[in-house]
């Protein structure tokens, strides 16, 4: 009587496929964030920047107010600035830095009002919503449970890489094209360390 062999490769393929499905979501998160953060020297992967200066026609009498001593006057300057800019955003805070400068805090941006010069500089940033989330997850800024999830994902990737080696029988087994490509892939980090001098 011949013993029936376990269909190991079939099980491996099924496990590899299902692990692959599980890994798709996180792979997109880590890969897109990896690309974004790798080029952090060239762009801001989390925010788009706003920085513009515009002239506004303010009441010349504002220049004679003692803004630091009178919060109501500073608020009047802020309201006049918002009107002049045609803005109806909610003003979250008004602060007179000195008698010629008022900071107006809006949601996500700041207005720096130069009362004397009649200039308003708006600066701030808008977040790149999806990418910022991906970067936040990738850099594990949340800590706690995400460490466990990230560890699980790393183990899943190790399994995918290992099972991928044995999933399909090559004509020459492990010594054919698979061995050459695997060797090339492993050689990349080794060569980089050797050529760059390492850490």
């Amino acid at each position: 009587m011949t013993r029936k062999r376990l269909p190991i490769r079939r099980y491996l393929r099924a496990l590899h496929r299902d692990s692959g499905y599980l890994a798709v979501g996180l792979t997109f998160v880590y890969a897109s964030s990896g690309l974004a953060v790798n080029h952090i020297a060239d762009w801001d992967p989390n925010f788009t920047q706003i920085d513009r200066t515009v002239p506004v026609a303010l009441d010349p009498a504002f220049a004679r107010l003692h803004l630091t001593e009178d919060a109501a006057s500073a608020r009047r300057v802020a309201e006049a600035t918002m009107r002049a800019l045609g803005r109806d955003d909610a003003v979250k805070d008004v602060y007179a830095v000195d008698d010629a400068h008022v900071d107006v805090t809006l949601d996500g941006t700041m207005l720096y009002v130069d009362v004397g010069k009649g200039l308003v500089r708006e600066e701030g940033q808008h977040e790149r919503f999806l990418l910022r989330l991906a970067n936040w997850l990738h850099l594990n800024r949340g800590k706690k449970a995400w460490t466990v999830i990230a560890d699980g994902y790393a183990v899943l990737l190790l399994f995918l890489a290992t099972s991928g080696l044995f999933m399909l029988p090559g004509r020459l087994g492990l010594l054919g094209r698979g061995a050459v490509l695997t060797g090339l892939g492993a050689l990349v980090p080794i060569l980089y360390v050797v050529l760059s001098g390492g850490p």
Binding site: D44, F47, V97, D98, D103, M110, E123, G124
Partner: protein, 232 residues
């Protein structure tokens, strides 16, 4: 007869070529400007004899916001605590900070990601003046810059007291933007820029070294750009 409308560049092809050309022009010109600035910078030296551009850096035209968990940009909410190993701890609101003796310095800054900015004019208060007001105890050896959301960076006391180290609120004549750490940040120009904590909330003088946020995450504890002290 040949249809005249079929002559010339098809619309889709034209749009593709135009997009490609624009991309090449935008990124190419930006790259060329950076390359030109870098080549010029490589020939320059500092007063201390070191090259003006540290190794592995390229020069940018303006300061880049490098992220971080943003702090409160409101000057009204700003409070700077100066304490630790000092005789007279104190705290300052934004308007009070502006009344301290100020300095406007032209500084070069160097980011660990590989860019440098030359001649940025920062206005602020020297950390050494704040240290003098607080009366730093002789036993203090280190400074911890504390910032929003628990960010910290550690610097040797001797380096933090260098006259070019500032708590700054103005860059190139304009208020420091929120993404750059406004209302106020530290600038420690001779160390990699992560040491220059944005959205600063405190300066704490210590006897023992206390590695900061990035220093405990694999970055170098000292961070000298001329020695390429990027990683631990």
């Amino acid at each position: 007869m040949e249809d005249e409308t079929k002559k010339g560049l098809p619309r889709r092809h034209f749009l593709g070529q135009a997009a490609y050309g624009t991309t090449v022009l935008v990124f190419g010109s930006s790259y060329l400007v950076s390359q030109t600035l870098t080549a010029r910078a490589e020939a320059a030296t500092r007063a201390d004899g070191r090259p003006r551009l540290p190794p592995g850096q390229r020069v940018l035209e303006k300061l880049k916001p490098m992220g971080g968990d943003p702090g409160d940009p409101r000057a009204s909410a700003f409070r700077l605590q100066v304490g630790g190993s000092v005789e007279r701890p104190f705290s300052l609101g934004f308007a009070e900070l502006l009344k301290e003796p100020t300095a406007t310095l032209s500084l070069d800054v160097h980011c660990v990601t590989g860019w440098s900015l030359f001649g940025a004019r920062f206005k602020g208060v020297r950390v050494r003046d704040l240290a003098a007001r607080a009366g730093v105890k002789p036993s203090a050896r280190h400074v911890v810059f504390e910032a929003a959301h628990g960010y910290t960076s550690n610097v040797l006391l001797a380096e933090a007291l260098d006259p070019n180290v500032l708590v700054t609120w103005e860059l190139d004549g304009q208020r420091l933007a929120g993404p750059h750490g406004g209302p106020a940040r530290v600038v420690v120009p001779d160390l990699y820029f992560w040491k220059s904590a944005k959205w600063i909330t405190g300066i704490r003088f210590t006897e023992q070294d206390e590695p900061g946020y990035w220093e405990t995450r694999g970055y170098n504890n000292h961070a000298d750009p001329w020695r390429e002290e990027r990683y631990a």
